[in-house]
């Protein structure tokens, strides 16, 4: 029977609104892409489990963990980079860059993210490897599942699930280290002194890793993940996708050794591509929502093609443009540089450039000036005019800043800071802190004529009392309109 696809098969079995899952037993593939996937798995899991242990010296009173999301103190540390809660837009920028990067690689080579690097794929691959270790490869697993509950089946299944749970626990265990000094937390976890939330998150992530990676696997991609639904808009005729070259493969059919190849396709219908597929689909049915393009079917098919003495690449990364070409004498060249990829690259450069500019111009001392709204200005009994402001000084350094406040471009105006008796006081701003000062600016009666009507621009200067460097902020002095 020529199965059209998996879901149709289930649909005919269950006329109700819901379908049972048909368990997938992926067979181990061998070849280039399998090796690549092992490599990606080792690197990504290595980063995930080890990154929190990397140290970074930031001096005293600061965490020495290179990668730390310090929610308690509202700081994010990434090596030399330190981001405050109010600067989370940098994270937004990173997310935008990630999304654009995803668009770009998808436009170039399809669902590379899904096939190689997505945590769901990596952990599922790991869980399948564990299953294979305990229960053997595809055929052995299928036999075991259909066999009655023997002692052998019980210990093999138990071993699999216990290993899955341990991996889940390690995953949750590694996650919490990102949020608290790793060596300290590791000690606390052992002695039972860790915060309850750490245990809770270990439990949650142990459970979800076990459930999503071990049990649910491909169903997460098919039913839960929104990304497959967006794919359609990301591919185009020039994207390199894992493709069954039907013009070469069809008509398919079993092939006996020594039989001629003329008049038939190269596909020997061995279903090697189907058995290795972690999503349980048949790539020969063409582009499908379920396909995560992990390219394991390419490995499986290349293996068979070598064995039957036909050229490799019956299943390969190829473009729609080439697949739909009227003649396959010559391959249609792959266009990686095209408007779509250029647009994504341009956008990434733009966002990256903006972020870099913002980062390089990031001030460690920020000044904000708020003008009083009620009253806008105060008429004094001697004929002078007074405006009130709140000057906010934000010290993002880890040392106390000592500054003086001065007026510029407002001749003869007097400055008074509420809470300070002396003139021209030195203002301390403690580390990592914001200090709001209520400030009065008075223009004496004699100088009112110099004002520019109802609105006179001037500047507040914040002068570092230690090194004399000046930071200024624009402000406006309000008064009655000229009569």
């Amino acid at each position: 029977m020529n199965m059209m696809n998996r879901t149709s098969d289930i649909a005919t079995e269950t006329p109700g609104g819901y379908a049972g899952r048909q368990k997938v037993y992926p067979k181990l593939a061998h070849g280039t892409f399998r090796k690549l996937k092992w490599g990606v798995m080792i690197v990504t899991l290595g980063i995930y489990y080890l990154l929190p242990w990397l140290r970074w010296d930031r001096g005293p009173n600061l965490p020495d963990q290179a990668f730390l999301l310090d929610f308690a103190n509202q700081r994010l540390f990434f090596g030399p980079i330190e981001i405050w809660a109010q600067e989370l837009y940098y994270i937004t920028g990173v997310l935008i860059l990630s999304a654009l990067g995803l668009f770009l690689v998808t436009a170039v080579a399809g669902r590379v993210w899904c096939g190689y690097a997505c945590p769901q794929t990596v952990w599922t691959d790991l869980m399948i490897t564990v299953e294979r270790f305990w229960q053997g490869d595809r055929n052995a697993r299928m036999r075991l599942d259909s066999s009655p509950w023997t002692f052998e089946k019980v210990w093999k299944k138990t071993g699999t699930h216990i290993t899955w749970l341990l991996i889940g626990l390690a995953t949750g265990g590694a996650l919490v280290f990102y949020f608290r000094d790793a060596p300290t937390l590791a000690r606390e976890l052992v002695t039972g002194d860790a915060p309850a939330i750490a245990y809770a998150f270990m439990g949650i992530f142990a459970g979800t890793t076990y459930l999503l990676g071990g049990i649910a696997r491909e169903q997460v991609c098919i039913y839960m993940c929104p990304w497959p639904r967006i794919q359609g808009a990301m591919f185009d005729r020039d994207s390199l996708l894992v493709t069954y070259r039907d013009w070469r493969g069809e008509p398919r059919g079993p092939h006996k050794k020594g039989q001629a190849w003329a008049g038939r396709g190269d596909c020997v219908d061995c279903t090697a591509c189907v058995t290795v597929c972690p999503m349980g689909i048949d790539i020969r049915n063409g582009s499908q929502l379920e396909c995560i393009q992990c390219a394991l079917c390419i490995d499986a098919c290349d293996d068979i093609m070598t064995k039957v003495g036909r050229p490799q690449g019956l299943i390969a990364y190829d473009t729609f443009r080439n697949v739909e070409a009227p003649s396959h004498e010559q391959r249609v060249p792959v266009r990686i540089i095209r408007p779509r990829t250029l647009a994504y690259t341009g956008l990434m450069l733009l966002v990256g450039g903006l972020m870099l500019t913002a980062w390089l111009n990031r001030a460690v001392l920020e000044v904000n000036v708020l003008h009083d709204r009620n009253p806008m200005f105060v008429q004094l009994s001697d004929g002078g005019l007074r405006n009130g402001y709140v000057v906010k000084l934000l010290n993002k350094e880890h040392d106390t800043r000592r500054v003086r406040l001065k007026l510029a471009d407002l001749d003869g105006a007097q400055l008074q800071i509420v809470g300070f008796q002396e003139a021209d006081p030195v203002i301390d701003i403690v580390p990592d802190n914001l200090r709001a000062l209520k400030v009065f600016v008075t223009v004496p009666s004699a100088l009112r004529d110099k004002l520019n009507g109802s609105s006179t621009p001037f500047r507040f200067e914040v002068i570092d009392a230690t090194d004399g460097s000046i930071l200024d902020h624009d402000a406006t002095f309000r008064g009655p309109a000229n009569e």
Binding site: M4, N5, T7, S8, I10, A11, T12, T14, P15, G16, G17, Y18, A19, G20, R21, Q219, Y223, D372, R373, N374, P375, M376, V378, Q379, L380, S381, D382, G383, R386, G388, V418, G419, Q421, A436, K438, F440
Partner: protein
């Protein structure tokens, strides 16, 4: 069961529903565990009924749940915690003379924030949210005070109000020189011209000259010979640029004719003494405090 129909293009069974004559839907069922998740959420919801307050009962109350939780209770816990956190500041305010509060760097931010909140609720309707005032309602930001601008004097004003009916209130008012027939209309114009001349704004020198004597006879008792006012009697300084009821000729004439006696309520008994003290320090800090 009806006959199953297979779509000829995809080979997938259809649901049997037909729209617009020929539009059919492929049967692509969700996995069954999806349904089980729905059942699980229903069970979870039942858990809520047990753990949290949920159902009204016939005897006019409701099922209380396991931990006696209520949102009102949570709020009152937060309010209690907030009050406890404020307590040390209120104690410090109570122990600090009102004139010293502003000099205390620890108290100042609390007094500014707390004073602004209390001011906005209680004083803002007349004086404006920032104390900017309006015609008849003094601007509290300037340095011109009817009844004195020291922190102590401001506290007294807030406590007992002005012409508020409280026995301790500040009670002097300006007589109705016109309405009560004390001055004739022509004399009022002359007096007004003289008053304006005190700040150099008179428009008729001879009228102002005639008004000088009228002023000395009728006004100087409160406003002083030189017109600089008297804060003991709430008599404003007439020589500066600040006019509560307007500084134009017709405004001043109107003031002399009808008298003035704005009312401010007393707050003692309505606000507790510490809050009044905080409010006084806040108003003093607005910029005009003496």
């Amino acid at each position: 069961m009806t006959k199953r129909e297979i779509d000829s293009v995809t080979g997938v069974e259809t649901t049997g529903h037909v729209w617009d004559g020929d539009l059919k839907e492929l049967n692509k069922p969700l996995p069954r565990w999806w349904l089980y998740v729905l059942y699980a959420t229903i069970v979870w919801a039942v858990g809520y009924w047990i753990v949290y307050p949920a159902w009204p009962t016939l005897n006019d109350t409701y099922t209380k749940g396991m931990f006696d939780y209520s949102q009102r209770g949570e709020v009152s816990k937060e309010v209690t915690a907030g009050k406890a956190a404020q307590a040390k500041y209120f104690e410090l305010i109570a122990a600090t003379p009102v004139a010293e509060i502003e000099k205390n760097q620890e108290l100042l931010p609390f007094v500014m924030a707390g004073g602004a909140a209390v001011f906005g609720d209680n004083c803002g309707p007349c004086h404006g949210k920032g104390g900017g005032g309006a015609v008849g309602y003094p601007n509290l930001n300037d340095d011109d005070w009817l009844w004195g601008g020291t922190a102590d004097q401001i506290e007294h004003t807030i406590q007992y109000g002005i012409r508020s009916g409280h026995p301790e209130t500040r009670d002097m008012a300006m007589p109705r020189f016109g309405l009560d027939g004390i001055l004739k209309p022509a004399e009022i114009v002359d007096a007004a011209q003289f008053v304006l001349s005190l700040s150099g704004k008179s428009t008729d020198a001879s009228a102002a000259d005639r008004g000088k004597k009228i002023f000395a006879d009728n006004c100087a008792a409160c406003h002083g010979e030189d017109g600089k006012g008297n804060q003991d009697m709430g008599a404003p300084n007439l020589t500066d640029g600040i006019w509560l009821y307007g500084g134009k000729l017709e405004n001043v004439e109107k003031t002399i004719e009808t008298g003035r006696g704005g009312v401010m309520p007393y707050w003692t008994g309505r606000l507790d003494p510490v809050t009044i003290k905080m409010l006084a320090a806040y108003v003093h800090s607005l910029g005009g405090g003496k």
